[in-house]
């Protein structure tokens, strides 16, 4: 007899719970657009925020709810994601320009030196707290690889003491750019293979003393640039990629080799 009561009690409690859940699942049903899930499946899921929305879920939701035609915002997913999403939404896909991350520093072990031995936590953010890092140049790459850790695609590595982007693997999600404590990394379009690989704002002589390939702010690049895309401010040259035609004249003129041009 006791076992019957026990079984009955557990069964009744279980049934009550089941009924309650069954009613609740109807009462609290949330209607989701099935397209949102389909779109979400097309996205890479890195949650990098390159599209400007809060993660892949946010972007999928925005696309699904507003039937927007901005299907080409996902840079990691590139053309494939854009095409897939466009198919689901029934719109034509716009072209996705390939973008890559660019490290504005060339201060490898051959070009610059350490000013101190550092034995602290192996992270750029930690090292920067102590006199701006252990390198002679406080503007440059610290080389502890915070960007390497954060990269979802194994596209950035510390080579000879400086971060180097693997252009083929890079999806331009911008996680490394956000992570770098010296803000050395910029996302640019891949079709402009010219870059000022320096962010040193010290006067020319000081900058040059600390690093062989520093920008010394000599203005030569600004003068030779046919489109006026280069400006020198704070002893540092900057390229405006909107105007740049990637002719390579600046790299030829640069006396220190801080501007790099790869055809």
């Amino acid at each position: 007899m006791p076992i019957i009561i026990a079984t009955a009690v557990v069964t009744v409690i279980g049934l009550l719970c089941a009924v309650m859940l069954a009613i609740a699942s109807k009462a609290f049903e949330v209607k989701t657009n099935p397209k949102i899930q389909q779109i979400r499946d097309c996205l890479p899921g890195a949650n990098c925020g390159a599209c400007g929305y809060a993660g892949c879920d946010g972007y999928a939701k925005a696309l699904g709810e507003n039937e927007e035609d901005r299907v080409n915002l996902c840079t990691p997913g590139a053309a494939k994601a854009a095409a897939d999403i466009a198919e689901i939404l029934g719109v034509t896909a716009a072209e996705v320009t390939k973008k890559v991350a660019l490290v504005h520093c060339n201060g490898s072990c051959d070009n610059t030196e350490k000013k101190a031995d550092y034995y602290g936590g192996q992270s750029c953010h930690a090292a920067k707290l102590i006199y701006g890092g252990d390198g002679k140049c406080v503007y440059g790459c610290l080389g502890f690889g915070d960007c390497v850790t954060v990269c979802e695609y194994d596209a950035i590595h510390i080579v000879n003491g400086v971060a180097k982007v693997d252009v083929d693997s890079c999806t331009a999600c911008g996680l490394c750019a956000k992570k770098c404590p010296n803000a050395l990394i910029e996302i640019i379009t891949a079709d402009k293979p010219v870059a000022v690989k320096c962010r040193n704002k010290d006067k020319g002589a000081v900058a040059r003393k600390n690093c062989k390939v520093a920008c010394i702010g000599c203005m030569k690049c600004q003068k030779v640039c046919p489109t006026g895309a280069i400006t020198v401010a704070d002893n540092l040259s900057t390229i405006d990629y909107e105007k740049c035609i990637a002719c390579g004249a600046c790299a030829e003129a640069c006396p220190t080799g801080s501007i790099v041009f790869k055809k």
Partner: protein
């Protein structure tokens, strides 16, 4: 006044002295799994606190008016698991519909704690300690806050571990467990405070 004093003692006991994670070693799975980042640790901690409170509010009456009444105390574990699991599902559905923002921040942790042993442990201990309804609720709130405290403390410890270089053989899980043991050890220091709280 005595009532209030009693409740404060119960609260402090379950937050510090009998901390569910660091002293009773319940709920270790989320403690180790979701303590990598502080904001996730806070989310998990709040979700656990919420579920503990709710679970106690439901399981205490069931124990008192159903199990005790039929003399079925030995069914406690199975009935509590059943009820807590169903309850968490219900809460998740409710949040999804009514407070989507809260669901988005809490939602991923809710299913994780459906059968968390700390939640079940709190409910069972409240009965074992012969607490009344209000005392049980205070005890669960304390247990939840203690869990939250342990999570946040340990998330801080872990972020320090991430940026240090332990010996190769200690990397990963071993160093995490060692750190957890040291944090737990430090909580033993709270052992004597309750007796002298109102002395």
């Amino acid at each position: 006044m005595d009532m209030l004093k009693n409740l404060i003692i119960i609260m402090m006991t379950s937050v510090l002295v009998n901390n569910y994670v660091l002293t009773k070693f319940l709920g270790i799975c989320p403690f180790l799994g979701v303590s990598k980042k502080t904001n996730q640790a806070v989310g998990m901690g709040i979700a656990v606190t919420f579920v503990m409170l709710l679970a106690t509010a439901v399981t205490w009456p069931i124990q008192e008016y159903v199990l005790n009444a039929f003399g079925l105390e030995y069914l406690q574990t199975i009935v509590f698991i059943l009820v807590i699991a169903a309850l968490v599902q219900l809460v998740e559905m409710f949040l999804k519909k009514s407070i989507p923002a809260l669901h988005a921040s809490l939602g991923i942790y809710l299913p994780l704690i459906t059968t968390n042993c700390a939640v079940l442990g709190v409910c069972k201990n409240n009965i074992t300690d012969e607490f009344g309804f209000v005392e049980s609720l205070v005890s669960s709130l304390g247990a939840g806050l203690g869990f939250l405290l342990a999570m946040v403390l340990f998330a801080g410890v872990r972020s320090r571990i991430e940026s240090s270089k332990p010996p190769k053989s200690f990397e990963g899980v071993p160093i995490t467990l060692t750190a957890a043991a040291i944090v737990a050890l430090s909580f033993l220091g709270f052992g004597g405070i309750i007796e002298n709280l109102f002395a």
